[in-house]
């Protein structure tokens, strides 16, 4: 079960991130999660949104370069040790996490993982009772 994240190329200069959020705001795109990776001259914004297709379309129309990346989304109760439990399972299965970010909603902690082989990681987590989250569930949060 994978979720589509939108990755957007951003030039690392004042106002550029704003020019992207402005497009999203104008089109009433609702973000669930957002993270930013950067080098000295450019960055990649990573977004989980309510409507993937609409977001990709409006960003492309506004001249942004973006792509869809499959990621793994899981939900665990928001208690100490929640993330640790998930990472322990991934480590035991020798899954390398390229990057991750997390957000809270209600009683749950939601975690987004970028791994090389999403289906394999998903299967291994599901077998250990970790709840995987679908695109629809994220959209409805």
């Amino acid at each position: 079960m994978n979720v589509k994240q939108i990755s957007v190329f951003l030039e690392n200069k004042p106002g550029y991130l704003f020019s992207m959020t402005k497009v999203l705001a104008e089109h009433r795109i609702d973000m669930r999660a957002f993270s930013l990776a950067e080098t000295s001259d450019f960055g990649i914004a990573r977004l989980i949104v309510d409507d993937v297709l609409a977001t990709a379309t409006v960003l492309k129309e506004a001249g942004f370069v973006c792509s869809l990346t499959p990621v793994l989304a899981v939900a665990v109760p928001d208690v100490p040790g929640g993330l640790n439990q998930v990472l322990e399972l991934l480590a035991a299965d020798e899954v390398n996490v390229e990057y991750m970010y997390a957000f809270l909603s209600g009683q749950n902690a939601y975690m987004i993982f970028r791994v090389a082989d999403v289906p394999r990681a998903a299967a291994s987590l599901a077998a250990s009772g970790i709840r995987l989250v679908s695109q629809d569930e994220l959209s409805e949060l």
Binding site: S7, F9, T39, D41, I44, V65
Partner: protein, 433 residues
């Protein structure tokens, strides 16, 4: 089957070309001596009279004319006929200083149009073709030259000029234009715009393009040919010698045939002025043989180039010049290293980057910096920082092996580098020296 516009001239035996050049040079030197006091003084300073020039073997004795001379002589100093005999002027863009004004009699226009007609026929043009001229019209020679040539060939001519890309594409598609004439950077931009509109090369009616007025690389040619689904031909010229059509490419695409019945080309050492043998790289110098109004003798173009007399498979016998490596005044000297923007373009296109780039030179703490800004494209983008920076490093490596110095590569947002409708602005030199 190779076709020619003027076969008896274009495929003339070398002895015939030699005879034309000898005879016309003697006549032209006399004409200039009699009517251009500025050049007569230059000849006198060297102790020369027209009697000293008996043929092309004596050409090397004549003084050079430089852009500086044309500025000194502005506006009428090089004019060789009464103004009443002139029917038109054209002018350089003046980006490197004062404009140069070139004058034309009807005879001069006719021979210029012939040269452009040869280029169009060499690119496969005939009276069956629709020729869209997207070079600027006006003082710039690009539009007028190809327009005249297209008329001579009998193409249906679309004198649309540059700019208004949507209208360009509409006319091209609706009128089924088969030949496109413009600057290579504008051809690339038109191609990019058509691709964005979802047009594939087989939907585009064009079959050939004639592109010139700026330096462009072999890689850029490939990229334009692929996007537009055409064969792209180079054309060369400069306002000072008439305009485009001084030299043009044939089906072999291995250099441009210089119209030697009208121009003598020489390659010189730019430092000593000494004439270099065939095959050696140096500055290109032109002598116009039968222009009446603005007949420049030994005009230094500042273009760095090589000539070749190897027989050509197209059957033309006129000498070929390579794609100029760049103007000597386009050349950048960065940390003491000579750098031509065309070398940078070659590396970029080889590694799959777009032809939209800008070169920014600056001086920080007394050291020259070279920053190459490249636009990010959907094809190049991935979610992985490591992959993108890895590719950036590969580009820096490629540039280092081509140029011999380290450049910084900055990835910038798509469409953030200004598109040009005429000559592209590739270099921004911020150094204050």
């Amino acid at each position: 089957m190779e076709r020619y516009y003027q076969p008896e001239i274009e495929t003339a035996p070398r002895e015939q070309i030699q005879a034309w050049q000898d005879e016309r040079l003697v006549r032209q030197v006399r004409h200039v001596w009699d009517s251009v006091p500025y050049y007569r003084r230059l000849m006198e300073e060297k102790g020369l009279t027209p009697d000293d020039i008996k043929g092309t073997a004596d050409l090397h004795k004549l003084p050079f004319i430089s852009k500086h001379d044309l500025r000194e002589a502005y506006p009428y100093g090089m004019l060789a006929v009464p103004l009443k005999d002139c029917v038109r002027i054209h002018s350089t863009s003046g980006t490197t200083g004062k404009r140069v004004i070139a004058y034309y009699t009807q005879h001069d226009i006719d021979l210029w149009d012939d040269c452009c007609a040869r280029a169009i026929v060499a690119a496969g043009g005939s009276d069956e073709d629709v020729c869209q001229i997207s070079y600027g019209f006006g003082l710039f020679t690009g539009g007028a030259g190809l327009n005249g040539g297209s008329h001579k060939v009998g193409c249906l001519t679309v004198p649309i000029s540059s700019g208004n890309t949507e209208r360009q594409i509409m006319f091209m598609m609706d009128l089924k234009a088969t030949i496109l004439c413009c600057t290579p950077s504008y051809a690339a931009y038109l191609g990019e715009s058509m691709k964005e509109m979802g047009l594939t090369p087989d939907q585009i009616p064009l079959k050939a393009g004639i592109f010139g007025a700026e330096a462009w690389s072999e890689e850029m040619r490939k990229s334009i040919e692929e996007t537009l689904g055409i064969k792209a031909y180079d054309i060369y010229g400069l306002t000072e010698t008439s305009g485009p059509g001084v030299a043009f490419e044939c089906s072999e695409q291995t250099g441009m045939h210089i119209n030697e019945d009208h121009f003598i080309a020489e390659i010189i050492d730019p430092d000593t002025g000494e004439v270099l043998p065939d095959g050696e790289e140096g500055e290109l110098v032109f002598t116009a043989l039968d222009k009446e109004a603005f007949p420049l003798l030994r005009y230094r173009t500042r273009d760095v180039c090589v000539l070749s007399h190897k027989p050509c498979s197209c059957g033309r016998t006129h000498v070929k010049m390579c794609k100029p490596r760049g103007r000597t005044d386009d050349m950048l000297i960065i940390r003491g290293v000579n750098v031509f923007p065309s070398q940078i373009e070659t590396v970029l296109l080889n590694q799959g980057y777009p032809a939209n780039y800008q070169i920014i030179v600056d001086r920080v703490n007394n050291t020259d910096t070279l920053d190459i800004q490249v636009e990010m494209t959907p094809e190049m983008f991935t979610d992985s920082l490591a992959e993108i920076t890895g590719r950036q490093k590969k580009l820096v490596e490629g540039l280092r092996s081509m140029l011999g110095l380290t450049a910084k590569v900055t990835l910038v947002a798509p469409k953030s580098i200004t598109r040009s409708e005429g000559k592209a602005v590739r270099v921004i030199d911020k150094r204050k020296i």
